[in-house]
Symmetry: C2
Subunit: 320 residues, 2 copies
């Protein structure tokens, strides 16, 4: 037995979810150097918080796993393609290196002692989740009619016709539990900066005495919210490329919101005021965190991160 100081005590515990633009702007080349540059900008925007509080970083993987999928099945002469969930695992390694390189630079420039650690993270989903009955998320390459038919017959894929051609559609089930929750909490207690839950985590189901990967994608903001609740974080911050949550965004009557209560949020959601697949899942993630006992969730611009985190800008979610 030793007397040990837990660095995590008394600090504010914050889960910060980096939006897609933290790693890539839509017009960016998707080469390695560009992604490191973007990640550097992201860490540079929040380094003060990292140095002062107990921060966990989570991130998406959309463009990266898309690229891995494009390479995965381009030729029958290649080695066996990996399942979608395993491509997600590969993207955690890929983005992990990018984040580590970017953070290391900020760390050295600012003289931060805290070390970052990238953990391969899994999210448990329910095999009975109704998302498995109706896959809706398009992933990977565009295929011709003929190839699409072949993939449906041989691989059992569900395909959907888009403007450019056929694409595979996969389910996006709810992340019930982050498997690495204890690991992440332990890293925080030991004074590290956990970088985890990449792409919402590798989706797994409990079966045959193990956790089996399933071909699905997970919403990274929802997974971040579930993680934040499970480690009893004080705050969930979703940093993206918009300054505020808007209702009726892009329409003449659009309105920026500086604060949303549980009741208001549920009302707005039921009226479909938020962009499906863009702001709506973020709002759901923020509201869920409050519902599960979290004190505060914020959504705002990554470039104005410190003000968003301190409540001076962006949109704040509170219980009432």
């Amino acid at each position: 037995m030793l007397l040990v100081a837990l660095p995590g005590e008394l600090l504010v515990k914050i889960v910060i979810a980096f939006g897609g633009n933290a790693l890539l702007e839509t017009t960016d080349s998707r080469d390695y150097a560009t992604q490191v540059k973007r990640a550097y900008r992201a860490f540079d925007a929040i380094w003060k918080i990292i140095s002062m509080e107990d921060v966990v970083i989570t991130h998406g993987n959309g463009p990266q796993v898309g690229d891995i999928l494009l390479r995965n099945q381009i030729s029958d002469s290649l080695p066996p393609p990996m399942p979608l969930d395993t491509c997600g695992a590969m993207s955690q390694g890929l983005i992990g290196q990018i984040m580590l390189e970017a953070y290391e630079r900020v760390r050295n420039e600012k003289g931060i002692s805290k070390e970052a650690v990238v953990t391969v993270t899994r999210s448990i989903v329910d095999p009975e989740d109704k998302a498995f009955l109706e896959p809706t998320k398009p992933v990977g390459a565009v295929f011709s009619d003929e190839k699409a038919r072949e993939l449906v017959n041989n691989n059992g894929w569900k395909m959907s016709k888009t403007e450019k051609g056929w694409r595979r559609v996969v389910p996006s089930p709810f992340p019930m539990e982050i498997v690495e929750r204890n690991v992440i909490l332990s890293q925080l207690r030991s004074g590290f900066l956990p970088i985890c839950t990449g792409g919402g985590g590798i989706p797994v189901i409990r079966k045959n005495k193990t956790l089996l990967g399933v071909e699905a994608v997970i919403d990274k903001d929802l997974a971040s919210s579930v993680l934040a609740s499970s480690i009893e974080a004080d705050k969930l911050a979703i940093l993206t490329d918009v300054k505020n949550v808007f209702i009726n965004f892009g329409k003449p009557d659009q309105k920026a919101l500086s604060q949303i209560t549980m009741e208001e949020g549920k009302d707005y959601l039921s009226k479909g005021f938020f962009g499906k697949g863009s702001m709506e899942p973020k709002v759901r993630a923020a509201l869920r965190f409050i519902e599960k006992g979290g004190k505060e969730a914020v959504i705002g611009s990554l470039s104005d991160a410190l003000n968003v985190l301190s409540g001076k800008s962006g949109t704040r979610f509170v219980k009432s």
Copy 2:
């Protein structure tokens, strides 16, 4: 301040390096399910040690990073190829998921409480390492004369002619330091099973206030040895597909060795008694661990792991 029991105290600290056959036999299909089956067999062979002592698992990535490289640059219509070191990072995510799935099954079958954690791991190399002057390790696809010339001119690759055609050759520098050493030690102290240093770690150099990835490969046994020394492990175990270290392996006068002292080992190495690129780096890794103060290193068969670990079979390395 809290009174905390450190589970790591009094236990034997062992770094176990899984050889290539732990994840794939040479005749195996390289699909996901086969790799999980192999990893299950590996964890099943050592579960008792995992449940009783402070174990760290390391592993190679040869076939896996080879497959990622084949997919990386097969077509110019694909997104920008990732650097070799980043393909290594991807393989850490890939193999990480495989190892987690396999360990989770063994864990549930045997009722082990210890959780595994896969950490993206980097190894610092010296940019002045003479390996950079003379790249020797062939990686990735085989190219035609014309394509090889193009890659030399456009990408600055070094190429080497093999029986099948041209292949890229890359340096294999010495891993001076495992960046995630503190993280791994902290995981051990908190009672986790660290799975790390995949493929010898992502090679990085210190430059411009950061750690930059470099295109190289690292010997996983050497990296495991460096890690083992740096966390002051009691034992380094290199588990592979041969029962013993042999001198003159495959020749009429081959001889299995049950014990090798520092002095003997150096003598054998200087006489070139071990297979280059196969047993020699393993012997070097074992000897280095002893030289740096480690008590014992063992090399032996994964299928007989418990006997190798207890010194009943395999080859034992000791100071004198």
